[in-house]
Amino acid sequence: MFDVEKIKKDFPILDQEIYGKKLVYLDSAATTQKPKQVINEVSKFYSSLNSNIHRGVHYLSIKSTEEYEKSRDTVCKFINAKHTEEIIFTKGTTEAVNLTAYSFGERFVNEGDEILVAKTEHHSNIVPWQMLCYRKNAVLKVIPADENGELKINEYKKLLNPKTKLVAVAHIANSTGVINPIKEIIDAAHNNGTYVLIDGAQAVQHKQVDVQSLDCDFYAFSGHKMFAETGIGVLYGKKEILEDIPPYQGGGDMIKTVSFEKTEYADLPYKFEAGTSNYVGAISIAKAIEYMQSVGLDEIEIYEKKLLKYATDKLLSIDKIKIYGQTEKKISAISFLLNGIHHYDTGMILDKLGIAVRTGTHCAEPTMKHFGIDGTVRASFAMYNTKEDIDKLYEGLMRVKKMFA
């Protein structure tokens, strides 16, 4: 049974006052808060097991390595990857995309080839591909979106051609919460012999993801957006592709043998994990997964859907509010503007009322340009948010309206 009050109690940070007002945290799309189970696990690890991984013969190093590899296994099962070595730990989604853009690009992208990105992408799923295109003299093409921020799937299919090497799209757009039809995107790309990377940074904390049934070639996500630590993320890649592409960075741990004449690279996944990885971060991801699973991914999805519906209805009852990304296919975020009131002004006043939202372009300038605006206010939710949080937001917005009338 999903019990939001019980869940909320697991997140110590939520129980505090800001400027004398009870904190209402509605910025989980930027980063989620951490349950005490994750915080305690990290603290316990440093207090009893910490040692560098993959290098020692001593007890702690072996234990530490075991925990790190167990985390990889947990992630593998979490997204239903076929092989453990398909899970590469990175600094986050951004590094995972950069890794793919570099290593895949080196192997598969040549002059005149095309990379497709969606118009509603986060900068981190645009800029690395742009850099690849500069490097290789390739062409970046854009999948158009409609006025609701939904991708125009027929236009997308027309863009696919023999030169299209890779399609990079978000599972869920960060600035609007719109769910992209990734299965259809992946299938059409594969029919064209094109690879697909999915940016799952806004998805894994809200719903069950199965990379085998999606059949995507790469899937990236971040720890800090799924109740784990910051500075850790995951790149899933199909084994045969990862084996085929060159390493991203050189250093310790990613090699078999090194001499000045020739270096032999390590096998997967270590080939892509140069230097000491953020092994504590990886352990925190495993603990966060365990926490989410104890609540139940399906239960989380159902609860958040109800909360989103409640919030959308409540906000739409406000006179002259506009929601960007107004569609049924959405998850846990509402991007909006009150008519004639700048997002910065709205955000500043909400902050003084103890309500944390994000304002601005949400690292998605092309999306804002698409809507013809400078930015929005984004309220985003996670499993620990309640109807009361939404009510507080509503009251806050009514106050904002009054102040700027």
């Binding site: 910065y344 601005g360 930015g375 700027f404």
Partner: protein
């Protein structure tokens, strides 16, 4: 000009102290912001022809335009923003720093923003253009000062 006569003979320091005193009357955060919003709404209109690219200070939260002109040995600043709260703080900055000799602007020690509890609006993470605005005001001071030499 928006400068009142009684400000004419006050130093930059004195005007700042006056603002601090004014703000000390507000007990609630919201009262403070009500006042800033009022200042923002009453900010002297900014000449559209001065909304040039070189006068624009781009921030990812809000945009600021700043223009400085030398008149009778003093710099007259005008500015604008798309956000009202930013405009309110601009109004305060103009009250303190406009209609001053370049040398005064150049050497001004701005302490009122922190004292009245608006420092967070100047945090670089807010990226609302105010930090760059203050830098640009100082640059105007330096540039006009060297012109007058």
């Amino acid at each position: 000009m928006r400068q009142c006569n009684n400000l004419k003979n006050m130093t930059i320091k004195e005007v700042q102290n006056e603002i601090i005193e004014e703000f000390s009357m507000f007990e609630e955060w919201m009262d403070k912001y009500e006042y800033i919003i009022e200042l923002g709404n009453n900010l002297e209109p900014y000449d559209e022809k001065n909304k040039t690219k070189s006068n624009l200070i781009q921030g990812c939260q809000s945009r600021v335009w700043l223009n400085g002109e030398l008149q009778n040995g003093k710099i007259i600043f005008t500015a604008d923003s798309d956000a009202v709260i930013t405009k309110g703080i601009i109004a305060l900055l103009i009250k303190v720093l406009s209609n001053r000799e370049p040398k005064e602007v150049m050497n001004a020690d701005l302490f009122f923003i922190e004292k009245v509890g608006l420092k967070e609006n100047l945090s670089p993470t807010r990226a609302n253009g105010l930090v760059s605005m203050i830098k640009n005001i100082k640059t105007y001071g330096i540039a006009f000062n060297s012109m007058l030499k």
